[in-house]
């Protein structure tokens, strides 16, 4: 019998395979992961795009916000999967195996990165078809992908922590936070077009610096210290707090 931490990568690999099957084999998983993000892009560019006045093409303005919305929404789906694993006792079984501790959570996170990056490809493709012309050079694209991975990892650990404490139904509602919070940011309309009382919130919530950083990366303009540092601080903060919370919640056992 192998010792407790003999092969963490093998353990995580087995868990990733499990999550990939979970996504690809459920209609719900496929729709959530692939159909909804593309639909959101189409709605904003084709339906709202004609009405919203903006300097230049609205498609150029709205793509970064839409991408972040899709990544957040896709990451939140992990909360449902983790809550299901808790409900069926699968997490208990994994905890009684001589494997690398929270392999199942690392598997969820790694699978979420793969799922969301894959889901972003058709979204970007649709945006290009609709006339989006990103000006990013190679470094900009590398920065974009690295930044996207950081966003997915931070949001997915948050979803893991939520899934460990919430019921399956409550975990499903985490989606809505990621679906609606980006609207009250600079992602879809500039903050200065919002009512004055909303601007304080919109300027200071995490989605605004996160979306503005992605906007700079994709448009080939140098990232501004005023957006990238708050964005990285928010993401690092969410990541560290969520990772610690999920690790502790995984080990201790709450009476639901």
């Amino acid at each position: 019998m192998s010792t407790a931490t003999a092969a963490p990568l093998t353990d995580i690999g087995a868990m990733v395979g499990r999550e990939v099957r979970r996504t690809l084999r459920s209609v719900d998983g496929l729709v959530t992961s692939f159909v909804i993000p593309v639909s959101v892009m189409l709605v904003f560019v084709v339906i709202f795009g004609g009405a919203i006045q903006h300097d230049g093409h609205y498609v150029d303005y709205v793509v970064p916000g839409t991408l972040i919305l899709c990544l957040g929404f896709g990451s939140a789906a992990t909360a449902i999967a983790v809550a299901q694993d808790m409900k069926t006792g699968t997490i208990d079984r994994f905890k009684t195996l001589p494997i690398f501790g929270p392999s199942v959570l690392f598997g969820h996170v790694a699978a979420s990165v793969a799922r969301n990056i894959a889901a972003s490809i058709p979204v970007v493709g649709v945006a290009l078809l609709l006339g989006w012309r990103p000006a990013a050079d190679l470094a900009g694209w590398i920065g974009t992908i690295a930044f996207a991975v950081l966003v997915i990892v931070a949001f997915t650990w948050l979803a893991c922590a939520a899934g460990l404490v919430l019921s399956v139904d409550a975990a499903a509602s985490i989606n809505f936070v990621f679906l609606f919070l980006p609207y009250v940011s600079s992602g879809f309309v500039p903050v200065d077009t919002m009512p004055a009382w909303l601007r304080g919130f919109a300027d200071n919530q995490p989605f605004t610096p996160i979306i503005e950083t992605l906007r700079d990366l994709l448009s080939g303009t140098p990232v501004q210290a005023g957006t990238i540092w708050p964005a990285l601080a928010w993401l690092a903060g969410i990541l560290v707090v969520s990772y610690v919370a999920a690790s502790v919640l995984y080990r201790i056992r709450l009476v639901k």
């Binding site: 499990r18 099957r21 459920s26 994994f94 009684t96 001589p98 392999s103």
Partner: protein, 328 residues
């Protein structure tokens, strides 16, 4: 069976959640190859005991060892010798039976070839070969439980915990499950199972611990527990009310008499002698005897006597043997 070094040993386990004292000091000892049943109603503390012994929950006080390994100090090593099959079938619906098994083979670090061989072996053993490539969402409840148990055996653990393995199963699937558990024990696997079914404990377990309110209130083989409760009874049923009244007035000592069913229950240590005596009295006084039966105590009686309340299951048919023939 090596009685000197129990495979599962627990001493004084306690656990409270806030003011709720779930366990009030549990002591257990299970020998190698033994089937040990924790029998008790819902909320008695069965699952909490299993959760502590399988390293999922830390006890507030007390000690426990599995195969001599301390569950608190070395939970990682304990996980190497146990498996847990929980109350719900913890199998992935979106994977096939074969995929569920081979995933667990990977997690058990069996290696590709050994993992495939073990997967095939378990599919065969648990009668799941035909369903191996179908997704578990198409499986019946009995098939899921079989797969669940197969998964927990992938690394051939010497100690197996089964938390209510047959709850919700139809009688046929339950019988299949029992056969598998017996086979495992005969191969030397130590099994601790929890159940609220008296019949299950009676049928399967070498040793039974009756647990209620977080304490073990009785402990022994099924036969020992039944002996401890009360001896056998003879139930004499009279053919008409006049005979019933006559029998009562003759002073036939009943522990319980019921005019409605015209039956009298007589406690006895010597059933055959008592039957002879009763029938002799009946013949002498011309009483109309409709039936005479030996009632042996069931685990139901044990449970009732010990806890003052019924188990959750409806009473099984009494283990009675009618002795009408003797009257002739």
């Amino acid at each position: 069976m090596n009685k000197t070094t129990p495979m599962i040993a627990a001493s004084g386990l306690t656990k409270s959640y806030n003011a709720n004292h779930v366990l009030r000091g549990i002591d257990l000892a299970v020998g190698r190859g033994e089937i040990f049943a924790l029998l008790g109603p819902n909320g008695a503390g069965k699952t909490t005991t299993v959760n502590i012994l399988t390293t999922l929950v830390m006890p507030d006080a007390g000690t426990a060892t599995i195969s001599g390994i301390d569950i608190v100090r070395e939970p990682g090593r304990v996980r190497g010798v146990i498996s847990l099959t929980g109350q719900y079938a913890s199998v992935d619906e979106f994977q096939t039976g074969e995929e569920n098994l081979s995933m667990m083979a990977t997690l058990a670090h069996l290696g590709g070839k050994a993992g495939r061989a073990r997967t095939a072996e378990l599919l065969e053993q648990f009668d799941l070969v035909d369903a191996a490539r179908r997704r578990v969402e198409t499986y019946s409840g009995g098939m899921r439980r079989r797969l669940d148990l197969a998964i927990s055996l992938i690394a051939k653990p010497p100690v197996v915990f089964l938390d209510e393995p047959t709850t919700g199963l139809d009688p046929r699937s339950r019988a299949q499950m029992w056969a598998v558990v017996r086979e495992l024990a005969s191969e030397g696997t130590t099994i601790l199972l929890t159940t609220q079914y008296l019949e299950e404990a009676d049928q399967l377990a070498d040793t039974i611990a009756v647990i209620d309110g977080g304490s073990v209130i009785a402990h022994g083989t099924a036969a020992e527990l039944k002996r401890g409760v009360s001896g056998d009874h003879i139930e004499l049923t009279l053919g008409d009310l006049a005979s019933f009244d006559a029998a009562i007035s003759l002073g036939i000592q009943g522990s319980r008499s019921d005019a409605e069913t015209r039956s009298i229950r007589v406690p006895t240590c010597e059933p055959v002698t008592t039957i002879r005596e009763l029938l002799a009295v009946a013949d002498r006084d011309g009483l109309d005897v409709a039936n005479i039966a030996i009632l042996r105590p069931t685990l139901d009686d044990v449970f009732m006597t010990l806890t003052g309340h019924q188990a959750t299951q409806p009473t099984e048919d009494r283990n009675s043997s009618t002795a009408e023939g003797l009257a002739a």
